[in-house]
């Protein structure tokens, strides 16, 4: 088992494997997005309180989930990399950051769009909104740090350390609605309770969430492949690959 793990942790094998996987993830992401959007915009009923504006939930919530989840995954890979000095885990972490920042931005943006009709303001300084904004800043900070460090090894480790420090923010975002009484809605999907919203809405959101997942994986794998080529361009296997 251990041998196997190390086998896949080697950039060369990983490169081959991921090349085969990317199209699968990519296409299923596209298909699921279409289905999800269809459910969201044509099948789900109009909300009796919020009218049509609520449909933004199908983008907002999956994006918000992903923004936090990706950060945790980055922190996980960063920690693994620091502990075991595996090159690949740092690359995973780097590959995920832009997507995470994108989803954070989408969550903020759709939230703001939604906030205008719901709360009458684009932006309020509510705990969840603020902590989500901080998450965006963290993503940007980490990417800026990577950009500023020329030496890839040093950049990897410095970025991983920062990611770890910032990870504290994710539970704050998630629980902010519980800890402070905020304008923002509390969690209505949870594993322990029965969901409090219409089934079709839930399905639509879940489909969109899975699509976002698949998209993230596809893009991350693609970026990792590029990173691998860049970093390992002096190794024999990359040279062989390029010559092919």
């Amino acid at each position: 088992m251990a041998i196997n793990l190390y086998y896949y942790a080697s950039p060369a094998t990983f490169y081959q494997l991921s090349g085969k996987l990317i199209p699968w993830f990519g296409w299923s992401a596209v298909i699921l997005t279409v289905i999800g959007l269809y459910i969201g915009f044509f099948m789900a009923p109009t909300d009796f309180q919020q009218g049509e504006a609520y449909r933004i939930i199908f983008i907002h919530v999956p994006a918000a989930w992903m923004s936090m989840f990706i950060y945790l995954v980055m922190a996980f890979w960063g920690a693994i990399g620091l502990a075991f000095k595996t090159r690949l885990s740092f690359m995973m972490s780097r590959a995920l950051a832009p997507t995470g920042a994108l989803f954070t931005f989408i969550a903020l943006w759709t939230g703001a769009l939604w906030g205008k009709p719901m709360w009458g303001a684009w932006w309020v300084w509510d705990a969840r909104l603020t902590s989500e904004l901080i998450l965006l800043f963290l993503y940007i900070g980490i990417m800026a740090l990577w950009a500023a460090i020329d030496d890839p090894q040093r950049g990897d480790r410095a970025g991983a350390l920062l990611t770890l420090v910032g990870a504290i923010n994710v539970p704050i975002i998630y629980f902010s609605v519980k800890w402070w009484n905020t304008l923002h809605q509390g969690a209505s999907v949870s594993l322990t309770k029965a969901p409090s919203m219409a089934k079709i809405m839930l399905i639509g959101m879940l489909v969109m969430a899975i699509a976002a997942w698949l998209y993230t994986i596809a893009v991350a794998l693609y970026r990792v492949r590029t990173l691998i080529l860049e970093r390992e361009r002096n190794t024999d296997w990359v040279k062989a690959l390029v010559e092919k």
Partner: protein, 209 residues
Amino acid sequence: MLAARRRGDWLTSQFFFVMVASMFPLGIGPDPVTLKLIGPGVVWVSALLASLLSLPRLLAEDYRDGSLEQMLLTPQPPVLLALGKSLAHWLIYGIPLLIISPILGIQFALPAEAIAVLMLSLLIGTPILSLLGSVGAALTLGLRGSGVLLTLLILPLYVPVLIFGAGAVDAAMAGTGAESHLSLLGAILVLTLLVAPWIAAAALKVSIE
């Protein structure tokens, strides 16, 4: 340890806060009701900015003249070094701020009780800023544009301190009791005290390579 040797810095830091915090009434207008309203927030934001302003110097000089290398080569564990640096930062930046904060409070027409809470919140909060700041300073050591980068990395981490710190004073003024805010601040302090020096030490080692 070392930074404390510079006597002049002490006084300058104090002036700095007074000046930053005095700029707000100038920019905003002298209405005492407004001033009172924004007072705690402004003092706290000034504290954050002052910490940011003094952070780049914390390690950069040692890095450039090679003494940081030498410190890492002493038998002392790097964690102690990082802790010492945070302490030094707090001594030249936090303490002067504490001493001067009552004056700022008076400038903003805060009631006496609120000033006491303000000082208490600064006493708990500023060490957190120094500890987190040392992580940021260690990470950005020797990088190009490190000053602005440092701000970018560190400000998001400072936000909770700001919220609870200013929140405590606001709560005291509103009469709802500042204890919960202060105890949260205290919890953050304990957490950062346990975690930040290790991360800063690791970052130092990475940066010096």
